[in-house]
């Protein structure tokens, strides 16, 4: 290949890193999935033929929202700590993120338990039930997927396998976690504010 060295570009050549770009495209696809669930929720507000209605059974989930929103902060601090080489600090913030995520899921479990046992609202009760469990469940399943990734990294971290060179990978996970967080703001607005 003799001709190639003649064609050196004059400007330096840098492209975006593939991990974050791939995650952004994945988030785009996920957003489209959530958009359909949210559209269905908004479309069916007030169209249930029977009770219970959202106003009767839903409470604004203050504790859950605080858990999830603050977990975005802790994961951000964790990645920053790893970037500066403080692996111990990274692990503490990372585990805190997991605990906050677990708190959120516990809140969802409690809410669902109350709705099913006390208010007899299931996915097949009425349109509110269908749309509520679908949208909140879709979000919760994303939290579970995120928790799985967080736990794997935590397990690797506790055995000393997460080093500052891995910061881009943890950064990609944190992008996903922030996305799940932002979606929760949309879900809360749709389900507990507009929907009531």
């Amino acid at each position: 290949m003799t001709a190639i060295p003649m064609l050196q570009p004059t400007t330096p050549w840098t492209l975006p890193r593939r991990g974050p770009v791939g995650m952004l495209f994945f988030i785009l696809a996920e957003s489209a999935i959530f958009a359909v669930f949210v559209a269905a929720y908004l479309f069916y507000i007030g169209r249930s033929l029977s009770g219970p209605t959202p106003r009767e059974v839903l409470q604004f989930p203050v504790a859950m929202t605080l858990c999830l929103l603050s977990s975005s902060l802790t994961i951000h601090l964790a990645v920053r700590a790893l970037r500066s080489g403080a692996t111990g600090k990274f692990l503490r913030y990372w585990v805190a993120t997991i605990l906050l995520g677990a708190g959120f899921l516990a809140g969802t479990a409690r809410e669902w338990h109350e709705l099913i046992v006390e208010h007899h609202l299931t996915i097949s009760t009425n349109l509110f039930g269908s749309t509520y469990y679908a949208l909140v469940g879709l979000h919760a399943s994303h939290v579970i997927a995120g928790m799985t990734m967080l736990l794997i990294v935590a397990a690797l971290g506790l055995t000393g396998r997460v080093r500052p060179v891995h910061v881009e990978r943890t950064d990609v996970i944190s992008m996903y976690w922030h996305f799940v967080d932002v979606v929760w703001i949309v879900v809360v607005t749709v389900v507990y504010v507009i929907g009531r």
Binding site: P9, A32, I123
Partner: protein, 558 residues
């Protein structure tokens, strides 16, 4: 002019590997070229299956009051034909071409995420097998229809458990969710590759048009296929957990399903046809011996089609009874798509204008696309006019229109692409003689089948009916339409024989048999596992021209 040669690693193992070893290599591979070929072979198998279904449909409709198949079997046939052709032929074959060509065209060694790539192929493959396993299991276990029979669009409330008993519809839903995951994974991978893996100097403005179009298409898949996956999940919740999203008796809306489906369904048409435009944009310049006419305008038109196509979906729903404002909006937006597509047609003609046109088989197919896509576009604009659509919606006119898009344009473009890139993938040329037979037989057969359907439709023949009455003026159109199938089958038989025979006995292909200008032709045929021994450096939109003509490179003029 010397062809660029890269040192190829000599085959160190002299003894031929056993069949099992070779099979094992293909099953565990993460190489984009092998996965691309597997995608394409998978799709060609389903092309034959979908083609057999279409042949049975045309046999049934050849004569009035015919009884080749029952009404129920006919429902299954058109459902499986549509589902197969869109999800198991169109999507994966285009994913296969993107897989194979993108890393070569942008001068890199593999996709951004090779293992994700293997995952995407295998999940697509198993999704397709799951869909078809409905034929084996569903009737025996649960009664109801033997295979999906709700149409490829699965309109509610027909898909609800009340109306579709048994599990055939569940096979359809889950099969499509799974192939959808494959499409989304593939799209994330390919789009990321294009943005992050380009070789030195290949700016966005120097990417080959096929790469550009693929970037737009993969982005569209992310926002178009995902809504289908979401809607199918909602439908699955209805069917298996008793939710009421599309259950009209509990207040659910059947029209909402139509919106959700076509939010996917119309961008999907462009997801399918745009890669065809990509093939044309590579093939027409090479066989006209001219640079593509209006490269930046082609890119802009592609992006414009991508955006506009996201806002036209309800033109499938004019007869639903939307508001006049909605009808007007979707009629205008649909008409608007004709502008960038028209620009593309003129640019291809502009490329050919004054060129030294070589009528090799890929170019023949490409020229046929220009004519047939023009007809498809014209009938498309006709159908975008809401009052006209009210007359002809759900008739064979619509069937003729979209088969001119998906067969007359896309499938012809795919054939062109296979003839064009087969030498690169296999190291052998396809036979020109068999190729010309394939072209003429398929051209005649396609037009015999689908031109008459315009007239049958205008005379009022509805879609999806399993037979029709005599003495309504429909016999001749249907008979001619069915006769055309024989020519198409003969053409495809030539194609299949050509693929098989040329693999062993075709003329050995040079690295750059068409004297082309994009980087896939800069490596050997077939390329080594690492694609390029040295990653090339790019200074213009035609890097291989620059290498072959150092005295007059393109970057002097760009």
């Amino acid at each position: 002019m010397t062809t660029t040669q890269f040192p190829i690693a000599a085959d160190t193992d002299e003894s031929a590997p056993s069949v099992f070893d070779r099979l094992h290599e293909w099953v565990v591979t993460v190489d984009h070229k092998q996965l691309g070929i597997m995608y394409i072979l998978f799709s060609l198998v389903f092309l034959v299956i979908g083609g057999i279904e279409a042949t049975m449909i045309r046999l049934q409709l050849a004569l009035p009051d015919n009884h080749v198949v029952s009404a129920q079997a006919f429902n299954t046939l058109f459902t499986m034909h549509g589902t197969t052709m869109v999800f198991l032929v169109g999507m994966p074959i285009l994913a296969g071409f993107a897989n194979y060509l993108i890393p070569l065209q942008i001068g890199t060694r593999d996709l951004a995420f090779p293992r994700l790539n293997a995952f995407a192929f295998w999940i697509t493959c198993f999704g397709g097998l799951l869909l078809y396993s409905s034929f084996l299991t569903a009737p025996a276990l649960f009664g109801g229809a033997p295979a999906p029979d709700v149409g490829w669009f699965g309109y509610a409330p027909l898909t609800e458990p009340t109306y579709s008993r048994g599990n055939a519809t569940d096979y359809w839903i889950i099969g499509l969710i799974i192939t959808g995951f494959g499409s989304i994974a593939g799209a994330v991978n390919i789009a990321t590759t294009i943005l992050t893996m380009r070789t030195k100097g290949m700016t966005l403005g120097r990417m080959p048009l096929f790469t550009w179009i693929t970037l737009v298409v993969q982005s569209m898949i992310l926002v178009a296929v995902s809504p289908l996956t979401a809607s199918l999940i909602l439908l699955l919740l209805d069917r298996s957990l008793g939710a009421h999203f599309f259950d009209t008796q509990a207040g659910g809306s059947a029209v909402l399903w139509q919106h959700f489906f076509w939010v996917f369904g119309h961008p999907e048409v462009y997801v399918l046809i745009l890669p065809g435009f990509g093939f044309l944009s590579e093939i027409i310049p090479v066989f006209s011996r001219k640079v593509i006419f209006g490269y930046p305008v082609m890119v802009a038109a592609t992006v414009a089609i991508g955006f506009i196509s996201l806002g036209v979906w309800a033109h499938h729903m004019f007869s639903v009874g939307m508001s006049p404002a909605a009808n007007t909006f979707f009629a205008v937006s649909t008409g608007l798509v004709a502008v960038p597509t028209g620009i593309k047609l003129f640019n291809w003609i502009g490329t050919m204008w004054g060129g030294r046109i070589q009528l090799k088989t890929p170019m023949l197919f490409a020229i046929a696309v220009l004519v047939q896509f023009l007809i498809a576009g014209i009938t498309g604009v006709m159908l975008s006019v809401a009052p006209f659509d009210w007359q002809l919606t759900d008739t064979y006119f619509v069937v003729a229109h979209f088969h001119f898009v998906l067969v007359g344009s896309l499938l012809f473009a795919i054939f062109a692409a296979v003839y064009y890139w087969y030498p690169k993938a296999t190291g052998r040329m396809l036979s020109e003689r068999l190729g010309k037979w394939h072209f003429w037989l398929f051209l005649i057969g396609f037009n015999l089948t689908f031109i008459p359907q315009h007239f049958a439709g205008m005379l009022g023949m509805p879609r999806r009916v399993y037979t029709f009455l005599p003495e309504r003026g429909l016999e001749i159109w249907n008979l001619v339409s069915s006769l055309g199938v024989a020519f198409q089958v003969a053409g495809v038989a030539c194609f299949a024989w050509n693929l098989i025979r040329s693999y062993r006995r075709g003329v050995v292909a040079a690295n750059d048999p068409w004297d082309a200008w994009t980087l896939e032709w800069a490596t050997s045929s077939p390329p080594p596992a690492y694609n390029f021994a040295q990653l090339p450096v790019v200074r213009s939109a035609r890097p291989l021209w620059d290498l072959k003509h150092p005295e007059d490179p393109d970057w002097h003029y760009e």
